[in-house]
Amino acid sequence: MTDTADQHEDRADAMFHALADRTRRDILRRVLAGEHSVSALAASYDMTFAAVQKHVAVLERAGLVTKRRSGREALASGDVEAVRSVGSMLTELETVWRGRIARIDDLIAPPPPTERNQ
């Protein structure tokens, strides 16, 4: 990575700003799973097409989403490479493993006492 520390910080700011909104996280989740047209995304939310378009633009500026045009449609997909550039590959692997460990912890947790037992 040849970025300066400042560029890195700017990108982190943009990324966290983009992820600080529930709808944008939801959009990112959908487009990471596969390309979606902005109009298809807009149909999933109780908001105007313009509002959804704006959310996609914020994600795009943060480098989390890329857009391409196909005819009259704007197609958005999650840019995993860009997401990855923020952390190392091992960090990404660590996330997967931390999830597994948290689930083991849930599994071995004693069941919460019920009122009947008390």
Partner: protein, 160 residues
């Protein structure tokens, strides 16, 4: 959070995670020996795992698939190489087609899980390694949605 130590070894493309669980070694071992429990922890809730074959004996192959929120299935296998219950086991994990034929195009990772008694609970050490950066990249590409979805859900939990 039970994770007590994480080490990245970029030269050897190895991730080591140490976690302390508040349960005896035998209880933790049982999770790995029992397919029904293992599948509860292997895949994230958004990509639940289903183990089809799992016997945790050396020389056996365990098979599983994970199901995406859209219903798409991704299959994988574990080739169990060493077992010393309830203290440790080793396996190679790779990707397979939906008939569980290993995909030779895809990398195979090596894993060593060790469990020791620690303060009345269990200290688990997970070592996962890959042979090349390209291999690790491809594994992450396969699991990227899982990893990212997980990360996003964690943010959701954090701000909830």
């Amino acid at each position: 959070m039970p994770v007590t130590d994480v080490q990245h070894d970029p030269d050897n493309l190895t991730l080591t995670i140490v976690a302390d669980f508040a349960a005896p070694v035998e209880r933790i071992w049982e999770i790995y020996a029992d397919a029904r429990q293992l599948e509860k922890v292997w895949g994230p809730p958004t990509y639940p795992a289903t183990f089809v074959d799992h016997d945790l004996r050396p020389g056996t192959r365990s098979t599983y698939f994970m199901t995406s929120p859209e219903g798409e299935k991704f299959a994988g296998f574990w080739d169990i190489t060493e077992v010393d219950g309830p203290s440790s086991f080793s396996f190679d994990d790779g990707f397979a087609d939906l008939d569980f034929n290993p995909n030779p195009e895809m990398p195979v990772g090596k894993n060593v899980f060790t469990f020791t008694e620690h303060d009345g609970g269990t200290r688990a050490t997970y070592v996962a390694s890959h042979t090349s950066a390209e291999d690790l990249q491809r594994v992450l590409d396969m699991g990227q949605v899982e990893g990212m979805t997980e990360a996003l859900n964690q943010i959701d939990d954090l701000v909830a």
